[in-house]
Amino acid sequence: MLLLLVCMTMNVIRNLLLGLIFSASCSFGQNGRMVIAFLPVFNHQPLLLEDVFYKWNNSDRIRISGFKFYVSGIGLAQDGKLQFAESNSFHLIDAETPSSSFVHLEIPEGVVYNQLIFSIGIDSITNISGAKGGDLDPTNGMYWTWRSGYINVKLEGQSNLCKTRRNEFDFHLGGYAAPFPTIRKKVLDVLQSDSLCLEADLSKFIGGMELATQQSIMSPGKEAVALSELFIKTFAIKPK
């Protein structure tokens, strides 16, 4: 009982910390350094894992147990013309590890831009080039084992809408080969700044899904392509 209490308290503290980090997040960056935050949120609030049931359509509830995705190919452009591209640009954003949301860039002086470019997912060349380290290391659990390829987006949780074992849903979106490539690119208009805050809003993502009829995607295919299209649309500059 005491242990349970301690666990609960720890979770509360963690979530409080998460909230603090997210709210303080958009004030870093200096001297050619730039920070881009990819913040997992639910209806503009920092996403809380496990403990929170989000209300859905009045009577339904959703709980998120895991949410991870790859950001790659980060660049800055001026009116569509690329001005800066991060080299070896692969970042695993994990809602469980708040620090993973922040991507630090070194921008050369004089780079002028009004657009941010990034992709969600891993490109096909990287997918066929063998073992990689860092955020791409297969120990991160974002690589399929029974067939080769990165999982671009992993979303797992529970909802009463899912008539599955323990009401669970799990979406592993990936696939690099034709005809079902799932990497998606986004271009956002931005104001030049040393820090940019983006939201990946799960309420928009889940709002576009049909959890009552679709609870699981575990391999490449047209379903993964459709949800990848939906997911990229959920990214937006955080409202002030």
């Binding site: 066929i128 380290g133 290391d137 029974w146 080769s148």
Partner: protein
Amino acid sequence: MKKAFVLITICAVFIAFKAMDPVLYSFPFNWPATVYNFTRNPLSEAKVQLGRALFYDPILSQDSTISCESCHSQYTAFAHVDHSLSHGIDNRIGTRNAPALMNLAWGKSFMWDGAINHLDMQALAPISNPDEMGEKIAHVVDKLQHSNIYPELYYKAYGDSLITGEQTLKAISQFLLTMVSANAKYDSVLRKESSFTAQEANGYKLFQQNCVSCHTEPLFTNQEFASNGLQVDSALNDLGRYNVTGDATDSFLFKVPTLRNIQFSNPYMHDGRFKRLHDVLKHYTTGIVHSKHLSKQLTKPIVLSASDRVDLVAFLLTLTDKTFLFNPTFSYPKDIFSYKVKE
């Protein structure tokens, strides 16, 4: 422009080979270029030895009972003798025959259905399959980090005792890449160091007439996917390549396997249904089941007399490479593991 690129690539590969320890590679020079890009993972003695230890160590499996070698033993050309389907932890049985391992540097894809696109990623499949090793690579790395021997082996190999998944997979690749089999009697005949008997020569002629379009020399596989007219096993109902592509025309297609060291790599076929080479030849001559998936090379019947079959088998036995099968550098690394026992 394209020519220049090819030239640069050749130079890069050549430099990479030069940088590698010469005893580690003995790639036959009349063979095609390797598919594996050695510049991204140049062989070194310490990394090969690390990979060799990992290959033979059951620590890769959930309960430390199954190693790679359990289903890929050297004396059977790194296949699984007498077992039609692969075996895993808790006596679980898989759905396919463990293939022989050799000449993997030339492999375009791996597994019977080509589900794996790169040699580095191959080990993830058996490690994670619940019917094989039933483990997770992250947990394997954790176990290796806490073992008596591996931090030191990784330090020797990578100059860092902090173990990663990338290093682990690349080290396994390194060992597998050294497993080149290109020194069978067939090869020595091509090098004009010996000659076929009359029987073998006739067998080679028959092979070139009937088999070579799929079992292309020098690898003895074209690495394509094909249906070879086997009756579908209704218990397994394995759709093969379809499972990877989702394309109905790929149903029941499996990768054409190499025939090198075939004398020792029985049982044969993706589900290990044939025990003897004569069963295989009987299948190709009288057992083909016609379907819309059947390889077009097999639509016309292969006719072989009883003596033709004997001759063809005689030729297939010239693909046995004893310098590969009994090469001590591929065997159980006693030295590494005796150190472990001492501790």
